[in-house]
Symmetry: C2
Subunit: 245 residues, 2 copies
């Protein structure tokens, strides 16, 4: 909820439900600074509130409402317009990824960024777009390009968060255990190799070396937790015990 | 519509509308291989069809319907489960970005990837997750984490497309013009400097150099198109003409 958050500005939005959905999508990714320009059904809008619910309702409570675009963007130093490419206006066109990277950099240096989202049916008009510094164009399937307002807000908010996110791309979630040290994997390999040797598994002799190698490789590749190693020892012991009866 | 597309697998989905919305979100980003496990309201579902409409209806027409998870994933060599982190199962947890990067690599080598999405209310059960190779966890605002089925599908489909997308991050869209060559910008600068010199703009003399430098810098920074240069010459000529009357 820092002052430097970009303002997501809904330009002449029509359906209250979509305003509520936009508030939810923003908050999903930590954004709470919403502005509205001339909402069709007036403001406040009970349908927007019903859709937003809970914490997202606060985004609506704090939303600034303006009559015109110049008023709504008055304090923004950099404006993005989300739209398909306009062939009528010379303007930089950015992917959401690049745009939110740029927005992060501007915000970090104390600049207020505004992101314009057009009305559901027609989108932004050239009159609106002419006041933006750059266009955000979401690279969609050209044969099926229609995204609704909530989806456009969701994807831009997602990219905003992703650009600043510290989540490691991949972690191994360990459920109350830890990875097995190599000595335990080694002993597990020994255990299987011994019992399988006794059972005549490594046959014919010319293939035995290769078979043993593959089995060692299998244990090492998993990777195994200490709990897994205990489970696999237990599995083998129980099978051998049963077979010995 | 290549064979190597990941299968997006909706596990016990409830609302037909959400199945339709998922089909739309997939197709928005070029994915068309959907599978359904035990949809609550049977199949086909008219509400799903009504929501999907047009080309997304074909995604539904071709969706495979299965009774159980093992049947639905039978030909998948790598399975992702989309869910909040499970503390009960040891499993790699990836961001959508990392997961779809991995899915791209697997798909490129001919492996079928499956991505599981749980039912709306409760999400995937541990019984489902235990059959996945890895978890996809979308990094959301922990204070407002709820994403619906359509949003989860949208974000994963977006990341799939983004990982393979060739769209340049930023282009300057030129509306029937081209960037002005330096000589034109130079002459524009000369024109303004001369007229402003005559008008006594560069005052006091000690500041004149700096003022001229800033003005040159302004023209160069924009960047200007050839049409812009002509406009700015015209603006200046007209003002000077008017003032001379």
């Amino acid at each position: 909820m820092s002052d430097l958050q970009p303002a997501f500005i809904l330009v002449r939005p029509q359906m209250g439900e979509n305003i509520g959905a936009a508030a939810r999508a923003m908050l999903n990714f930590g954004l709470s600074h919403m502005r509205l320009i001339d909402p069709r059904d007036g403001w406040p809008n009970p349908r927007a509130v019903a859709m937003a619910s809970g914490a997202a309702g606060k985004v609506l409570d704090h939303a600034g409402v303006f009559e015109t675009l110049p008023e709504a963007i008055h304090d923004c130093s950099y404006i993005f317009a989300t739209t398909a490419r306009s062939r009528d206006l010379t303007k930089p066109v950015m992917t959401p990824e690049r745009a939110m990277e740029h927005a992060r950099a501007l915000s970090a240096s104390g600049q207020r960024v505004g992101v314009l989202f057009g009305p559901e049916r027609a989108g932004l008009e050239n009159e609106d777009i002419s006041r933006a510094n750059a266009i955000i164009s979401i690279p969609v399937n050209p044969d099926f390009a229609s995204l609704n307002l909530g989806q456009a807000v969701l994807l831009c908010a997602y990219e905003w968060r992703r650009q600043g996110d510290q989540t490691p791309p991949e972690v191994l979630e360990l459920a109350g255990t830890e990875l097995a040290p190599a000595i335990e994997v080694e002993k597990l390999g020994d255990h299987y190799e011994e019992r399988l040797e006794e059972a005549g598994f490594f046959f014919p002799a010319t293939k035995a070396e290769g078979m043993k190698l593959n089995l060692r490789n299998l244990w090492s590749r998993m990777p195994l937790t200490r709990a897994d190693v205990q489970t696999l020892h237990g599995v083998l012991r129980q099978i051998v015990r049963k077979a010995g009866k």
